[in-house]
């Protein structure tokens, strides 16, 4: 009798747990890519760059940060997203794994269909990395990649 009541309780708890955020369901990674043109021209910046602007300014001599494009992807693990970059370049991003609260990314840059740069990083959830800097119109191209687990 006791065991039957316990079975009911355990089954109920299991059932309720099912409706908690399902970690075993297919996870997605919201990946945001910002393509930035940094120059030493008149001081200006796009308001969408506010979260990282202070960090960029603390490292680079550039005074102007213009957001050329922003692209968002909802990627499954091992699903590739790509963005075209100025100068016949392509950026490829692929979330590959999670490690604690970090997201593993393969990031590749190609120029004229030729590989020029590749890195494998563990990005903190809801954080970003910046990669630069191919030359572009008397300045540099910066690419900010952020990721958030869904």
């Amino acid at each position: 009798m006791r065991l039957t009541r316990l079975n009911y309780i355990l089954t109920a708890v299991a059932f309720i747990s099912f409706f908690l955020p399902p970690v075993w369901a297919e996870a997605q990674v919201l990946t945001d890519i910002k393509v930035i043109h940094a120059t030493t021209g008149p001081e200006q910046f796009d308001s969408r760059l506010k979260p990282i602007l202070h960090e960029l300014k603390s490292v680079f001599k550039y005074t102007s940060y213009k957001l050329l494009k922003e692209q968002r992807f909802d990627l499954h693990f091992n699903e590739e997203g790509w963005v075209s970059l100025p100068g016949n370049r392509i950026l490829l991003v692929l979330p590959s794994e999670t490690d604690g609260n970090r997201i593993g990314y393969h990031i590749t840059i190609q120029k004229n269909n030729h590989f020029i740069f590749q890195t494998q990083v563990l990005l903190k959830n809801n954080s970003s990395i910046t990669i630069g800097g191919p030359e572009l119109d008397s300045g540099a191209l910066l690419i900010n990649i952020s990721g958030a687990l869904q």
Binding site: N78, T108, N113, H114, F115, Q118
Partner: protein
Amino acid sequence: MAGFETTAHKDTEQDLVERLKKGQKQAFNQLVSSYQERLFKLAYGITLDREDSVEVVQDVFLSVHHHIQTFRQDSTLATWLRRITLHHCLNWKRKWKRRFKWHHRSLEQENDFEPAQENFNDPELLFREKQLEGALMKEIQALPEKLRLVFVLNAIEGLSYDEIAETLNIKKGTVSSRLHLARKSLINSLELNEK
């Protein structure tokens, strides 16, 4: 009759794609048996490594299995498979775990370039054939990637200049000059070796 065959072939391919999208195991087995040899030849032509080529082809079929729903049929199945294979081959060489092997591979190593045994009655002819084939493969390995890609797509896949241009996203004139350069370079190297 040729037109009828073409239509029938398209229908067969469309049917296969539909069954693949439904997740039918038999359809996937059919895809693998129909295309594995062809894709292996293409992968081998680029990587020039038997072991790597098998792994590349494996990855290609797994990729197709996972992403078949994204195939919009705006090209033939063969063209789509070729593009995936090229993508995997080019990225395969660039993986750092392979990079060491690729850059430090001895040019004296002939294991992958051993031609399969044939029933020649003339041992001298067989030896000469083996030498020439071995020398050719070494020179093909030494070709710059841009030239080798075009040469492989032409020699192995039999693609026209237009098809190669579309596959690699380059101009037709570039295909012609790269293919010419590849051939010229190979002939020059082989003639130098003979001297």
